[in-house]
């Protein structure tokens, strides 16, 4: 039984078809890495899964919630999948704790005391319980990204989408964020991540998707994809990144 079903998804920006019929099924607890050159459609695909982009053809569903373009369906879908962004996108006028509390109170109508309790737990989970009252610009990039993860987790999503979440970080801060993601993976969270961290993809992911020109060019367990690439495009891609 798949948790996330992506079926024949096509997406165009004007004349430019960026997704040309994508099919991926994700089982609960799977950790999927999407790799590929820029412009291959990997970020677009990820953004389609929680409706930040509309799709032109095909269907996407997450645990029974269909991607449909009205606000009610989008909300139902987004309650099931959280998203972490390359640029963190914390709310600058709210403390870390308030960042984690806001959507619980506004969307789920969680009482304030309970939302605060959950926020503390989530921040503790990412190792930032002591930063509850810090504003985003008082935190390092790595800390901001971990708050963003806590914020997504507080909504208790079934799956998390990670869009190049370490690409905007200084090299020495990457590992603290990846450690949190690894922890989540080991707890059984379903993750789909667009990433350039090949080592991380190899160590943690259950499957790797290589996208090329809007299509899934190769897909398989990391040992297969990395050790035995079948297509010249993937060989070339891995060649330049190694």
């Amino acid at each position: 039984m798949s948790l996330i079903e992506i079926t024949e998804v096509k997406k165009r920006f004007g004349d430019n078809e960026v997704l040309k019929g994508i099919n991926i099924d994700v089982a609960p607890g799977e950790v999927i890495a999407i790799i590929g050159k820029s412009g291959s459609g990997k970020s677009t695909l990820l953004r389609c899964i929680n409706g930040l982009e509309t799709i032109d053809e095909g269907s996407i569903s997450v645990a029974g919630a269909q991607l449909l373009p009205d606000e009610l369906h989008l909300k139902a879908l987004r309650l099931k999948v959280g998203m972490i962004f390359q640029q963190f996108n914390l709310f600058p006028h709210l403390t870390a704790g308030r960042n984690v509390m806001l959507s619980q109170m506004v969307v789920k109508k969680t009482p304030k005391a309970e939302a605060e309790e959950i926020a503390k737990r989530m921040l503790e989970r990412v190792g930032l319980a002591h930063k509850f009252d810090a504003y985003p610009d008082q935190l390092s990039g790595g800390q901001q990204q971990r708050v963003a993860i806590a914020r997504a987790l507080a909504m208790q999503p079934i799956a998390l989408l990670c869009d190049e979440i370490t690409s905007a970080l200084d090299p020495e801060l990457v590992s603290e964020v990846l450690a949190v993601v690894k922890e989540l993976a080991s707890e059984g969270m379903t993750l789909i991540m667009v990433t350039h961290e090949m080592r991380f993809a190899r160590d943690v992911c259950s499957r790797v998707v290589f996208m090329h020109q809007g299509r899934v060019h190769e897909i398989g367990p990391p040992e297969e994809v990395f050790a035995d690439p079948k297509t010249p495009e993937l060989k070339q891609f891995l060649g330049v990144t190694h």
């Binding site: 409706g51 987004r78 309650l79 959280g82 962004f85 996108n89 709310f91 959507s103 504003y135 610009d137």
Partner: protein, 223 residues
């Protein structure tokens, strides 16, 4: 120059001045609060609202920003009764100031909203918030923070512009100065005192708005 300055009339006329100050302050408070509220609503409509609403708000904003305040005031006070909308001088003055600040505030606040990084909207959406919730809880406060100095200036301008309401006999500070001048024939002294009071009011209002900014927006350390 053999003019002798005489401020002796202050003893007799200070209650008139005080009443004028009171009305100018009242007009500024009501105009400021409701005008900014109207400005926020219009800025939302123009930047993020439904397609049919945008030209309506744009027409309102352009109408107000391209006509004199005095004409707007006269239209409301002398013109609208023809349609059966009769108002007291003060009601008309209040309405004119709200409508005026609403239009200027709209454009200033809209600039703040449109400078919001796209990621803020996406973060709100990805957490399940509706577009309106994202605007209200996520976008609005940082947007106001961005344009707070400009908006503060506009509120001060509207306060000073309220002098025009004396023309429909709303008994504000300018009305009081005119009144005293006509009774005492001490034009220099009357308007000199009114000038000082306006200056003090404007400085006080700026300080008030700065303080409001400090409490409304969290202190953000420069990194």
């Amino acid at each position: 120059m053999n003019y002798t300055f005489d401020f002796g009339w202050l003893i007799e006329y200070w209650p008139v001045l005080l009443k004028g100050i009171g009305i100018t302050v009242e007009l500024t408070l009501v105009g400021g609060v409701l005008g900014v509220a109207l400005g926020i609503a219009c800025a939302w409509a123009r930047a993020l609202g439904p397609g049919w609403l945008r030209p309506v708000v744009a027409a309102y904003v352009e109408l107000i920003r391209n006509t004199p305040f005095l004409i707007q005031l006269f239209f409301i006070f002398f013109g609208l009764p023809a349609l059966g909308l009769r108002m007291s001088e003060l009601q008309a003055a209040n309405l004119a100031m709200v409508v005026n600040l609403g239009a200027y505030g709209c454009e200033i606040i809209r600039a703040g909203i449109q400078a919001t990084p796209k990621g803020q909207f996406e973060a709100g959406a990805s957490l399940g918030m509706s577009r309106l919730q994202t605007f209200w809880y996520v976008v609005l406060i940082p947007a106001l923070q961005r344009i707070w100095p400009a908006l503060s200036s506009q509120i001060v301008i509207v306060m000073l512009g309220s002098a025009a309401v004396s023309q429909i006999a709303a008994e504000d500070l300018t009305f009081a100065a005119n009144f005293i001048q006509s009774r005492t024939f001490r034009a220099f002294e009357s308007y000199f005192v009114a000038t000082l009071i306006y200056l003090a009011l404007a400085i006080a209002l700026r300080q008030l708005l700065r303080g409001l900014g400090w409490t409304l927006f969290p202190k953000r350390t420069a990194r």
